[in-house]
Subunit: 200 residues, 2 copies
C-alpha cells in the first residue's frame, strides 16, 4: 500500500523492536542476538544496521519503549486518582510493580547499566521523564498534606527505592512464596508500612 513498503517493511525499526521484545519474553537476555532479531523480522542480518548503530542501540530502544510504557501507566493512575493523594500513591506504586511483572524484559533492560554508562541521550531523557512522574506524585501528596512537609526529595527516593525493590524482586519471583499469591497485598502493605511506620 504505502510507498515505503517497496522492500519488506513499512516500519522495520518498530518491527525489530517488537521482534527483540518477543525474543526476550521467551529466552534469556544472553540469547538475544542481532542476527536472530533480524531473522525473526524476516530480514537479512545486516538490515538492522539501517536503523540502529549497533546491538546496544537496539537494546537502548527497547529500554526507551519500556520507560514510555511505564510512564503511560503511571500517568493514567495519576489522573484517575487526582482526588485522593493516598490512593494516588498506592496506584502509582502498583502500576510500577505491575509493569515489572508484565514486562520483565523491559524492566531488566531499563536498569541494566545502559543508563549509568550513558550510552544514549534519548534513553537518559526517557528515564528522567518517567521518573519525574514519581516525584510529581510525592509533591502532590505533600501539597495535600498527606506527607510530612520536610525533605520531599528524600521521600521520593525512599518511595522509589521501595517500589523498585518490590518490582525487581517480584519479577524474579522471590517475594511470592506461595503459588497462587498475588502481588497487590504485598505492595499495598509495604507502602502502608512506609507511610505509617512499622515501629511499635
Amino acid at each position: 500500500m504505502d510507498s515505503k513498503t517497496k522492500y519488506h517493511h513499512g516500519d522495520l525499526r518498530k518491527a525489530l523492536i517488537e521482534a527483540g521484545v518477543s525474543l526476550l519474553q521467551e529466552e534469556d537476555a544472553s540469547e538475544l542476538t542481532l542476527r536472530r532479531v533480524a531473522r525473526e523480522a524476516k530480514v537479512s542480518h545486516m538490515a538492522p544496521y539501517r536503523h540502529f548503530a549497533d546491538k546496544n542501540a537496539l537494546l537502548a530502544a527497547i529500554a526507551v519503549e519500556g520507560f514510555q510504557i511505564l510512564g503511560e501507566q503511571i500517568k493514567e493512575e495519576i489522573h484517575a486518582n487526582r482526588s485522593d493523594p493516598r490512593q494516588m500513591i498506592d496506584h502509582v506504586c502498583l502500576a510500577y510493580v505491575k509493569f515489572g511483572i508484565e514486562h520483565p524484559a523491559h524492566l531488566t533492560l531499563m536498569f541494566s547499566g545502559l543508563l549509568s554508562t550513558g550510552s544514549s541521550d534519548e534513553l537518559n531523557l526517557a528515564a528522567q521523564k518517567t521518573l519525574s512522574l514519581l516525584k510529581q506524585t510525592v509533591k502532590h501528596a505533600q501539597k495535600e498534606n498527606l506527607l510530612k512537609s520536610v525533605d520531599g526529595t528524600q521521600m521520593a527516593k525512599s518511595i522509589w527505592s521501595m517500589v523498585h525493590g518490590l518490582a525487581m524482586l517480584m519479577k524474579e519471583g522471590l517475594l511470592l512464596s506461595e503459588d497462587g499469591a498475588q502481588f497487590e497485598p504485598i505492595v499495598r502493605q509495604s507502602i502502608d508500612h512506609l507511610l505509617n511506620g512499622i515501629k511499635s
Copy 2:
C-alpha cells in the same frame, strides 16, 4: 611447591572466579567471555571446562561467592549490634547497600535471573541462607519489641524490598545526584521512614 601445582595452578577454579570478577569490574557483563577469563588466568580456552560445566556455571559460582560475601558482612553487623535492635537493622541495611556499591558485578549477577530459572541448587541454597539473615534480623527486632508484632514475614519483605531497591539504584548511580553525595544518609533516612512512617 604443592604437588597440585604440577600444571599451571594449585586452584584454577578459584583463579577463574577471580579472573571473572576482575573482568566484570572493568567492563560490561556482555564483555565477559569464557575465553577471556581463561586468557586472564593464563590457561587454554578449554581448561575452565574441567571446573565448570559451562559459562553459566562460572557465572553462578560468582553469584554464590557474592551471597557468601554479603552473608559475612551481614553476620558481622548482627553480632556487632546484638544489644540494640534498631542499630542492628540500620547496620544490616547499610551493609547490604554497601555491598552493592563495592561489588556491583556480584550484585548484578546475584539477581540477574539465574536464581528464578533455578540453574543451580548451590546458588539457590546460598541465596536462601543469606536472605534468612535478613529475616533473622527482623525477628530479633520483634522479640525486642522494636517492631509491631504482626505479620513478621510481610515486614521482612518490605525491609528487603526497600534495601534491595536502594542497593540496585545506588549501584546504578541513580540516587546520588550530587557528586560528593554519600549513601549512608539516604539509606538511614529511608529505613527511618519505613520504621516511623512518612505520613504527616
